[in-house]
Symmetry: C2
Subunit: 425 residues, 2 copies
């Protein structure tokens, strides 16, 4: 199978071709192997040549882009030429589109009619969102599926209309079951090493998608018969057990969403005091809608003076232990909790870098603390230097993971693979 | 010209193919047009087939990836097979690598020798960073350039060794001059509309690279003769004048870096008070190393209570004008400035969304303020709804752009194209 993406802006690198990656991953996950990807621009003759070449070496070709109404959108014309067909207006699609537009108070325009001109005999694929209609067409011996370029149109169209048919016509009749675990604290290589010990059913395989500082672990079972679902569930359970509490979420859930749910269920409120991350942790939590219900307040206290004046960190603690130390993180957390009047408070002080040779702690060091009704928990971590902003991201995640672990009654100072304890006090 | 990227992880979409986009953009910027991009996995026969096809339709082919030491790295073997050559160890490269390793206290390993086995007669391209050697090879009528996959290796190797030669051998002898302007507040379409009025020399063209909420405008002059540089400078000046103070930086400079320089030169210090952006503005500034010299402190004050208790915003101001209002932003900024003892303070209160139908202000509304020694400046903005986190990003940029404008004595309430004034008080 081949994926062809089109468009001058993609070809010339003004836009990174994330659609091709998305399509390939979807297909691969569902057991449909992509053998080649091709990108061409908006020249008609290049498009025709690429379609004919792809037709000669594939049973199935997915084409993305070029279905819009402008003069650059030549995919349908090129498909027609490659197949030796004329373009005709697709009445069935125009009627569907008209009905939708009417509901929204709009009406058909010349641009809509232009976009509905597809190769004669093409089978339309309704676009659930936009006005560019997808279509199926046979060119030579190959079945082509033409899809719209904007990801917000491509993704629902692909899931609703394309994938089920691909599985039916090009799959081997297998059922595909997919589960995804979101992992923090253990990089891809270490997860892969750990799960080696798990005996998986022959029908089950694993995939990884790293995205600093997390990795998504995909458990994919493919097969037939009544036992598949049970085997898949067992495999998921075994992998989940092996990775353990490094799994912070499953499927599409995010870390802020997991924290949000627990904070609400437990009726907690939160304050944050950030030094090196400078607002990144608060900003990350606030990605989740609704956090204002419990995220009362945060301080960015870069300077020692701010730590002292705003949060009441004793100057003596800074002098004695250094500003990057667990006692300072603890004092920051307790000060923030007291001042904001919240049930919980998080604090972080660390080194994001870049640092000179005389730095007393290396870039990638963070001391974190969580103050609660009964006291304060703290930890010091040191990790690889990912550069200033990579470090800040990892440090913010270390802090938020401490909160997740506290809320879920998990070990709050785990044996991370990606960070080693930083020993102070 | 064609770009071929290799590797199963790229093909199957586990990694987005950013190298292909980077190479295409570099080549395009320097006047070398890419006509097609192809991606294949790690199967030897697929690689050989793709190389032979590319050889049949191009004068020049750039190949990326597959030069590592593992069994998946088959690019050199495939190139040799496509060209009908054997692999031989490249002594010249091994000597260079050995000298470098010796300096670093290392030595040659079997993996290094494996990576140095290239098609006989290939011309090596020294890798300035890693141990995977690039090479030139002729297959059929086409010149192939093989480059390593990791971006940190590809980019210096390409700039130092590949691009100069490509321009010499495949360019038309033209000189390419490039200047980039970084623009905020005016989207790509509006910039394009504005600069239409500028008469550019025949040798000069423009390119755009949008990256919400900014757009990079590239001015590219290509030609020969002594007047080119002067014409290019004139074109840059004309475009810069036309876009005006929406240009916040040039070339590789970032907004935090521009602000950092001005803050240091003018001896200012800063405090921030953020509501809707919840730390994003502070976190964005802190991307720039060294900001701790003047970024004293920031507050995230989500709740009205925090605005009142922490920053001394009068409860009556909130009651009278609503929490998303210029008077509240002004009170936040003045309170932050006073409490932190800084020369300047920024504040923002707004709606990032999602909102219900009963919201009194739509998502994408922000009131911002800057308190300084002589008083306070404020503005209200409303922009398109980019979704919660898109909105938070735009809102943080609106706030930081206010600071840039103040520091540079530019209009602090400009006529943005991407945002309209939000009228309160």
């Amino acid at each position: 199978m081949e994926i062809i993406t089109t468009g001058e802006e993609v070809l010339q690198g003004q836009i990174v071709d994330s659609n091709a990656a998305w399509l390939a991953e979807q297909l691969n996950t569902h057991g449909l192997d992509v053998q080649r990807r091709t990108t061409v621009g908006d020249r008609l003759e290049d498009l025709v040549a690429v379609f004919l070449e792809a037709a000669s070496r594939n049973r199935l070709v997915i084409v993305n882009g070029g279905l819009g109404p402008t003069s650059d959108d030549l995919t349908a014309a090129a498909a027609a030429r490659a197949a030796g067909l004329i373009l005709v207006e697709q009445r069935d699609w125009l009627e569907q589109l008209q009905a939708r537009l009417k509901q929204q108070g709009g009406q058909l325009t010349a641009a809509h009619r232009q976009q509905a001109r597809l190769p004669e005999g093409a089978e339309t694929i309704p676009n659930p969102v936009g006005s560019a209609c997808g279509f199926w067409l046979t060119i030579g011996q190959a079945r082509f599926c033409f899809t719209p370029g904007p990801p917000v149109e491509l993704q629902p169209l692909f899931h609703q209309h394309v994938l089920p048919r691909l599985l039916r016509e090009f799959g081997d009749g297998s059922q595909i079951l997919l589960h995804r675990l979101q992992v923090f604290g253990c990089p891809e290589s270490a997860v892969a090493e750990q799960v080696k010990a798990v005996e998986l059913p022959a029908n089950t395989r694993l995939g990884y998608r790293p995205h600093l500082p997390t990795v998504e672990v995909k458990i994919i079972s493919r097969g037939q018969g009544e036992t598949l679902a049970a085997e898949h569930e067992q495999a998921v359970a075994a992998i989940r057990r092996t990775i353990g509490d490094f799994v912070y979420a499953e499927a599409d859930e995010t870390l802020p969403a997991v924290i949000h749910r627990a904070m609400q269920q437990q009726g907690h409120s939160l304050a944050l005091a950030e030094s090196c991350t400078a607002g990144w942790a608060a900003g990350e939590l606030a990605r989740q809608a609704g956090v204002s219900a419990w995220l009362r307040q945060a301080w960015v206290v870069y300077s020692p003076e701010a730590k002292i004046c705003e949060l009441g960190v004793p100057a003596a603690t800074i002098d004695e232990h250094g500003v990057i130390s667990r006692p300072v993180a603890e004092a920051m957390a307790m000060g923030a909790r007291e001042q904001a009047g919240t049930t919980l408070a998080l604090a972080i002080t660390g080194q994001s870098g870049p640092v000179g040779a005389d730095a007393n702690v290396p870039a990638g060091t963070a001391c974190i603390a969580l103050a609660h009704a009964d006291g304060v928990i703290s930890a010091g971590w040191q990790h690889r230097d990912f550069g200033r902003n990579g470090n800040r991201k990892v440090q913010a995640w270390l802090l938020l993971d401490l909160l997740r672990r506290y809320l879920h009654q998990l070990p709050v100072v785990p044996v991370y693979v990606m960070a080693k304890p930083f020993r102070t006090v």
